[in-house]
Amino acid sequence: MLKATLKSVLARKLRLVLSGLAVVLGVMFVSGSFVLTDTLDRSFKDLFATVYSEVDVQVAVRAKVDAGDPEAALAGTLTADDLKAVESVDGVRTAVGDVIGSARPIGENGKVLTTSGAPRLGTAWRDGGQEELREGRAPQRDDEVAISAYLAETGGFTVGEQVSVLTLEPKRTFTVAGIFGYPGDRDSLGGELTTAFTEPVAQQLLLGTPGAYSGVTVRADDGVTQAVLRDRVQAALGDEYQVKTGEQLAKESADEIGEGLAFFNYVLLGFAGIALFVGIFIILNTFSIIVAQRTRELALLRAMGAGRKQMIASVVVEAVVIGVIASVVGLGAGIGVGALLATLFSTFGGGSMQLAGIAVPTSAIVSSFAVGIVVTVLAALLPAVRASRIPPVAALREAATPDRPLTRLTVAGAALSLVGGGALGLGFVDGTLWLIMSGLLVSFVGVALLTPLISRPVVSLIGKLLAWSVPGTLGRRNSARNPRRTAITAAALMVGIALITGVSVVLTSATTSITKVADTQIKADLIISGESTNGESSGAFAGDRMDRVLATPGVESGFGWYNDAVLLDGQQKFGVVVTDVPAMERIFGLDAAGGTIAPLREGEIGLDQVAATALNLRQGSSVVVQTTKGEQRTYTVAFVLAKSRVVNDAVFLPRSVVDELALAKISSAFVKADAGVDVGSLRRSIEPLFADNPEVSVQDLSSYARQQAAQLDTVLLMIQILLALAILIAVLGVINTLALSVIERTRELGLLRAIGMRRAQVMRMITVESVVISVFGALLGLVVGTALGVAAVQALEDVGITDLGIPWAQLGSYLLVAAGVGVVAAILPAIRAARLNVLQAVSYE
């Protein structure tokens, strides 16, 4: 029996390849994710080990509010006295004051240079530090800098040229005195861009305080361990200081990245899961078709005395064989893809991110085989049971099995859809991820079970729209011929399209909401804001610039805001200092829910409704506030804003705390023009005020809204690319179904050719069948996805997605893509059908 099964697997190589391919792709995604994240994880560990290789202990000021932004200004600075105190600790060989802060160089095109995630740093040059000069010399004068080799390469700078840098202060121009690299001939440590100034300049530009240090790096005397020295330094300095060993810092940095990578891995595995879920449909379908085609053969085996268990075993063994082969191939392909992506990733930093060597973690191997085999066997189980139910007498009957009624299937489908929809609804309400995920899966299965019933009317309708010629009619009828087969094939496509559609609906709704808020709520004409790259925003400007903006003729009113994380009763909140509260009230159209909206005096704060509810505070309540640099103080809530679409979960602080914020600069400003003033010309007269800071842009409201919304487009594109894999697998499913149908209908095709059907007509017939199935799947996906999206939008109202937006054009394009997919999927089966030898086909058994 086993031998017979193996023989039949090998005899049907095409079937093996096609059904296996779905598993291969899924497994590839799984193992690829593991290999990629493992390689990156180890590479980052190596990187940070290098970064901290010459650090035994590092001292910094303990953050009072941890904002977690690498380029953000520091929690506080150390003084020369602090440095002396460290130096005098027993066991300290050297103690060097570090000056590290954010420095963004401007490229030759006048734009600020960006990285793909790595920081843009400024430091004070230290002779004998880790940096290794490659060209030129160290910066000696205040108008000189040394730059990292990768910065020189990215910006196209050479020794002797000018480079402009943005720091805490607006643009300053320096001469490149030297170019440096790092140990191990690295151009950069993980893709960072570093500018090294002389110490006084660095202190002024990066820390804003002459003579200050951002930290102290300590090397230990021989025989003194890092931990011992850390404890001694900590004891000497006290609790206001944070003292860590080099090893600790390397591990913490690597762990932080590792957490990010783990999350990234989960995301990739999520998409792999979707792909494999789709794969299950394909395999289920393939095995069902195979069992149907082998009905006679299987019945013959039964007639000869094979037991039911043997029948099940024969199908399951075939599934295991396919699962194992597919897992091996998928694992191999995944290792390749993971290595490729890791290499690609490493080149982002100009080859500066040295890969730790590709290895295959055990998790990749175990999960590949587990997933590959389990998925295949699971999918084959149902057809296996069906095979075992074939009565021996079927061997004697004509193969045409009557259509089994769809009642049970439909009832089960309706029940599952309801359960899944319910779980999904609950999940959306509480934001429980596992409920959402399982709700999604169950509803997809439910809809898939309902699909055969829907397929009859819908498929014939689609077919009538698409096909009028004779081959078209035949193709349409073929697609309606086996509702289950068509339904599963279409359902596989549905999953991918539904997810893409759902995401599109949510993101379009977000865009619509942003635009709507901009159009209806914000009465500003111009918005002055910094650019935000890598999620970090830079391009803040000093308060006096705002005064000059307000003094510009044609400006009616306006306000700027400073922001920073603050702790309210220990909870981190988004803190804002507004230069002119009444102006904000007017421009944002705010109402008070408690108290009156007025400029905040010393000791007063304002809250919006969301924050007030979250903190359980009312007008008149007192609350302990901790700012980044200030001391803890008790404030009274002066006003609570009514629910607004512009302000969400914010704490307003009085102007007196500006200097206690990490960065005492305005991050954005809203300006209203005098009636009758042309906004365009007002913008042109305000822009020169920021000529020295290319990170600041002055935009009218609608382009600001468009820019905000455009960021979502990138997210959508990423998700579309990842979900495209699910669609690719579904396409394999369509090809598979068609190919098997072509084999099944060999005799019919032969007959058609015998009575004079042209090759082109045969191909058209297959193509119509394919397109009908694909369009059907896409329509299902669009409907289900739109429903999902609408539900999600309802649930996300609190996050600010208040308006439903249906991306009709995108939905239309998905439908077109599906039709295109249908045409592409039909190519190979159609060619195969057209190439059939008429005589052989007619006498095909």
């Binding site: 045409a400 004779v470 081959p471 035949l474 007959l751 058609l752 050719r753 009575i755 004079g756 042209r758």
Partner: protein, 252 residues
């Protein structure tokens, strides 16, 4: 390209073999035969004698090694796929032993399929005549699975005739039918030759079926060995017996 005007189909010294080297089988060894327009011809012979091969070669379903094959005024050998398809659609009708119909189409759609494929209009009067002759008027909307084997074969006959081809080829059309259903199909083929001037060529093993034909050709080892005109079933049986005696090796 002009053929014999009187012959609907013609083979001239046709050779055909399968396989190469030691395994080579000569299926047709210099067959020359003409099928006159409006005549019903039966081809008989032991199994493996080349009957199906001859028919396939005549109909352009299979290629020949040498010789010439004509359908009406068209030389079949040398035609490319496009020409052959065109030939099959308009000049040739087929009736196979079984599996003649598309399961997704009704009887009527199956019958008009060759016209539909070619984008031609159905000649209603002719269609009605054919339908009435095969007696399928009340079965037109049925699917093949709802028809008996005999009815299915009659639908196949109607389909073969509806495009008014030059020749209708039937390979053991009654092989799977009981004698009554077989008689209906045979009677219909006979009438289409007699009444509608339709050329019909039929392969059969059954002497009784052959007796419906105007002419019976006997093949053995890829050669035409005997020919009878307007025979009775008994004549055919006798001839078969005598041929068996001639060549013991090809006893069926």
């Amino acid at each position: 390209m002009t053929g014999n005007v009187g012959a609907a189909a013609r083979a001239v010294d046709v050779w055909k073999s399968y396989g190469t080297g030691e395994a080579a089988v000569t299926a047709l060894a210099g067959v020359s035969v003409e099928f006159d327009r409006g005549r019903f011809t039966a081809i008989m012979g032991p199994s493996g004698s080349g009957k199906s091969t001859l028919m396939h070669c005549l109909a352009g379903l299979d290629t020949i090694d040498s010789g010439d094959v004509w359908i009406g005024g068209t030389k079949v050998n040398g035609l490319r796929d496009k020409g052959l398809t065109e030939l099959r659609r308009s000049q040739v009708g087929f009736i196979f032993q079984q599996f003649n119909l598309l399961p997704t189409l009704t009887a009527e759609e199956n019958i008009t399929l060759p016209l539909a494929i070619g984008g031609q209009k159905v000649d209603r009067a002719w269609f009605d005549t054919v339908i009435d002759t095969v007696g399928l008027r009340d079965r037109l909307t049925h699917r093949p699975t709802q028809l008996s084997g005999g009815q299915q074969q009659r639908v196949a006959c109607a389909r073969a005739l509806v495009a008014r081809p030059e020749v209708v080829f039937a390979d053991e059309p009654t092989g799977n039918l009981d004698s009554r259903s077989g008689a209906e199909v045979l009677g219909f083929l006979q009438r289409s030759a007699r009444d509608f001037d339709q050329t019909v060529v039929m392969v059969t093993h059954d002497p009784n079926a052959a007796s419906y034909a105007d002419r019976v050709i006997f093949l053995a080892d890829g050669r035409i060995v005997r020919e009878l005109h307007h025979p009775t079933a008994a004549d055919v049986l006798d001839t078969m017996k005598s041929l068996d005696g001639d060549d013991r090796l090809v006893v069926a």
